[in-house]
Symmetry: C2
DNA sequence: ACCGAATATTCGAATTTAATGAGATTGCCA
DNA sequence: TGGCAATCTCATTAAATTCGAATATTCGGT
């Protein structure tokens, strides 16, 4: 596999590599949502969410549809949701270990 | 889903978000390899590869087995390879578009 | 005990990323 | 056209990532 494609693939993972963006994709997994709805459900700064959406748009993980005053987002390809589902099963498999790791991190961090 | 788990999930994607680390996982997909073999096949600096391996180890995407002077690495869970396979199909689906994007990036970058 | 090979770790510089606050668009409706 | 709501973009700053060079560690052989 050429390195350029590997870089491209890495960029997609990079786009997935943020809790907020994962949350966005999970919210969009079941239904198309407007930017405003996303902001509300996430409970985060408007500008911040908008920037994360821009990243997802640039990598084409989501598509957007303008309708009047609003912009509606949806996941571009179900494969991406499959990836998230696979990840979910991965985490369930190692759940106790993940929690253990989280606990250690919070202890050493305090 | 609690945010802590989402953060944990994002960390795994972060670990996948580098061309070299993707290359490492793809190499390990078919066979267990020693650090030296990985370095040789990647044709990169020893320290650099070792650092990437450390990241993959920290996130537990790979496991390592010490045998004498060498350290052998392998992918921890086949689910991760499934994720890479899914991504591969995603890229094949949008290959022309990806190439187009790569071309534009290289043009504007020069 | 010493040496060399294999691997890991540390450090510093350059680059990238994330969050916030402020400003700029765009589209609707009176 | 004026104004408001929804959304995006820009600038700044703090934090994280990446790489190479140098250094450290660990193990087997002599």
């Amino acid at each position: 596999m050429p390195d350029s494609l590997r870089r491209f693939k890495a960029d997609v993972f990079q786009a997935l590599a943020h809790p907020t963006r994962i949350a966005i994709l999970e919210l969009l997994g079941t239904a198309e949502l407007s930017a405003g709805e996303l902001i509300e459900r996430l409970g985060m700064e408007q500008a911040n969410v908008s920037q994360h959406l821009a990243i997802l748009r640039t990598q084409r993980l989501v598509i957007n549809r303008k309708s009047g005053n609003q912009v509606f987002y949806s996941v571009r390809d179900p494969i991406l949701l499959e990836v998230l589902t696979l990840m979910r099963s991965y985490f369930q498999k190692y759940l106790t270990e993940a929690q253990q790791m989280l606990r250690e991190m919070s202890e050493s961090g305090s």
